[in-house]
């Protein structure tokens, strides 16, 4: 096992100066100094797994280091509760909602249980996503500012579910969305907070070149020939078949390899079916590498991204698309669909290339393979874009600024 694989150092605030600047860290301290003694409570539905837990795992210690009293609570519920919240999640993305009306009562019963179990009263209570949304009922008994952080796309929700949730949303002091395109017309202020990546995590930190080579060898990928990669679950909305088709067009003109790296095939029946379809589409092409990776493959994903010449994200629908953020941070030229939060990250011809079809994706890949200087410039600018907007330190700054804003104006 290499040193890279075993490193488990927990980064402190000053460690981030190496990827931002000492000035940026001192700015965070200056902002936080105005909030000393204030308390923050984060509430979400899971302690591990998923993007929210990943962000809070890093954000909470950084805020604590800034001497802000942060606590993180996780709501609990039975299988029936989480079946309902999963149905809510899908319905808020526009799918139909087929559960009976009693499910709303069950949802509120669990919310009442959590309200009784948890302690409130922080200066700032931040509720993440719809699962704990009805905790706002506890507000009457507690002072402080309540903010709802919505991490999902609410632009086209199922009407029945939205009409149930909206009255709760409207009782908060403000709502936070990851993209203007994900928001709704609401009577409360809506703020734009981009999700963030941790540049010092296993998924994103610098790797030793030897480890990258070893990873390629392990997956029988040729390090001497161009690699085009998409990292995503085997999910139809990520359009892996479309990526294979685009690669097949590129392959007529350019020598390259395709890597489709993801998971979800073992724990999701549909994922298994999609994986089988992708394998069939790939046929006997030995330059297509389909890697069904377990969830603990952060270092391998990091190495594959770093070894790639181009990263693709040809999603048909997308949330914010943090795999794009990860690729940009690694200075990779990205070819991606103009869906979800991707256009916030990939500014066409400045920080990457946007495409709208299989043919368009293929053309942009060919263009970048043929123009390495342009690809290099896009990668550099993409990296700066992430440094400025999508790192955990920027996310901390946005939170501090929001808290200061609430103290001064509300």
């Amino acid at each position: 096992m290499t040193q890279t694989q075993t490193a488990t150092h927990i980064a402190s605030l000053d460690d981030y100066a190496s990827v931002t600047s000492a000035g940026e860290i001192s700015e965070l301290r200056a902002l936080a100094a105005r909030l000393h003694g204030r308390s923050v409570q984060m509430v979400n539905s899971t302690a591990v797994g998923g993007g929210v837990a990943e962000i809070l795992t890093r954000m909470v210690p950084l805020m604590q280091e800034l001497q802000i009293g942060v606590r993180w609570d996780v709501i609990t519920g039975g299988d029936d509760f989480f079946a309902i919240t999963k149905a809510f999640h899908n319905a808020l993305h526009g799918e139909s909602f087929k559960l009976p009306d009693e499910s709303f009562r069950t949802f509120l019963d669990y919310s009442a249980q959590n309200r009784a179990r948890l302690q409130f009263g922080a200066d700032f209570t931040m509720i993440h996503d719809p699962q704990p949304i009805a905790l706002i009922e506890a507000r009457a008994a507690h002072e402080g500012h309540w903010i709802w952080r919505c991490h999902i796309d609410l632009s086209q929700p199922n009407r029945r579910v939205w009409e149930f949730l909206e009255p709760y949303v409207n009782r908060y002091d403000g709502a936070i969305f990851s993209s203007p395109a994900f928001s709704r017309r609401l009577p409360i202020p809506q703020y734009l907070f981009y999700p963030s990546i941790d540049p010092l995590s296993e998924k994103n930190r610098e790797l030793e070149p030897e480890y990258i080579v070893q990873t390629l060898e392990r997956f029988e990928i040729d390090p001497r020939r161009p690699i085009v990669t998409q990292v995503s679950r085997f999910d139809r909305l990520k359009d892996p078949i479309g990526v294979v088709r685009a690669y097949q067009i590129v392959k007529r003109y350019n020598d390259c390899q395709l890597v489709l790296a993801g998971g979800g095939a073992s724990d999701d029946p549909e994922g298994g079916a999609v994986l089988a379809e992708v394998r069939e589409a790939a046929g006997q092409d030995r330059d297509i590498h389909i890697l069904d990776l377990p969830p603990w493959s952060a270092l391998e994903i990091n190495a594959l991204q770093r070894a790639s010449m181009i990263i693709v994200q040809k999603s048909l629908r997308e949330g914010f698309g943090l795999t794009v953020t990860e690729a940009l941070w690694k200075k990779k030229p990205v070819v991606a669909s103009a869906v979800g939060g991707i256009p916030s990250q990939v500014i066409h011809r400045h920080t990457g290339m946007l495409a709208h079809s299989v043919e368009g994706t293929a053309y942009q890949i060919r263009f970048l393979l043929a123009n390495p200087a342009i690809a290099h410039r896009l990668g550099e600018q993409g990296h700066e874009h992430v440094r400025e907007h999508f790192l955990i330190t920027s996310d901390v700054r946005r939170h501090l600024t929001l808290f200061l804003h609430f103290l001064r104006h509300r």
């Binding site: 001192s26 700015e27 809506q190 066409h348 600018q381």
Partner: protein, 224 residues
């Protein structure tokens, strides 16, 4: 006039501050050029600020083709390069008030739609979402009384502070000036240095390269 070299000290120290910004999502968007013009008429001054002054700071690392959000949308989502060029050419340094800038942006869009009948109602690929800026200013607790201290402080000044003192300062009294040039001129009488600092082109520099250019100018002054 004070001799700025050696140990000469300003009577008023330069106090470094920073501005951190929240982005407020406004409740309307534009799907074509006509709606953009309407949005420009109705949006808040904070929205005009966000999509112009703030845009320059947010994308400071791009030194070509990205001077304001309106121009970028007109180019990328409406595919109207001629209009985008006209909107991009509105230089924020020429404006000391946001209503004045808003008026010119509206005028450019309206004239284009009038000269190109039918174009204004053509749907854009992606809507334009109007947002606005909420600014929170905080002192960095640092000050400079000499040119050497000023130069040293610039070296690790965060981007937010550079933007605050060098770009958005133009909208604060005294209007149209950056804080650095004001201080150099007022405290040391260094009008030529102040002018050169003000001439650094914020459209073709990144914040970091503008910072380096200011430091070089100050070091040149210190070297006599």
């Amino acid at each position: 006039m004070l001799n700025p070299n050696g140990a000469a000290k300003a009577s008023d120290a330069f106090e470094f501050a920073t501005a951190s910004y929240l982005v407020l999502i406004e409740n309307y968007s534009a799907s074509n050029l006509v709606e953009l013009e309407q949005g420009l008429a109705n949006c808040s001054d904070a929205s005009i600020f966000y999509h112009t002054f703030q845009s320059l700071g947010r994308y400071h690392f791009l030194t070509e083709g990205f001077s304001n959000d309106f121009a970028q949308w007109v180019l990328g989502s409406c595919n109207r390069p001629a209009l985008a060029e006209r909107m991009a050419s509105l230089d924020i340094r020429d404006y000391v008030s946001l209503p004045e800038l808003r008026s010119d942006l509206r005028k450019v869009v309206a004239e284009y739609c009038q000269a190109n009948p039918g174009v204004g109602s053509q749907a854009a690929f992606e809507p334009f979402f109007f947002c606005a800026t909420v600014e929170e200013r905080v002192s960095l607790g640092r000050e400079a009384r000499t040119l050497a201290e000023f130069r040293d402080a610039l070296k690790d000044l965060p981007h937010g502070a550079l933007q605050f003192h060098f770009i958005t300062s133009r909208l604060r009294p005294p209007l149209g000036a950056n804080d650095f040039s004001q201080w150099l001129s007022r405290e040391f009488g260094l009008k030529d240095l102040a002018r050169k600092v003000d001439q650094i082109d914020i459209y073709t520099h990144t914040l970091d390269s503008a910072r380096e250019a200011i430091i070089r100018l100050v070091e040149g002054e210190l070297a006599g």
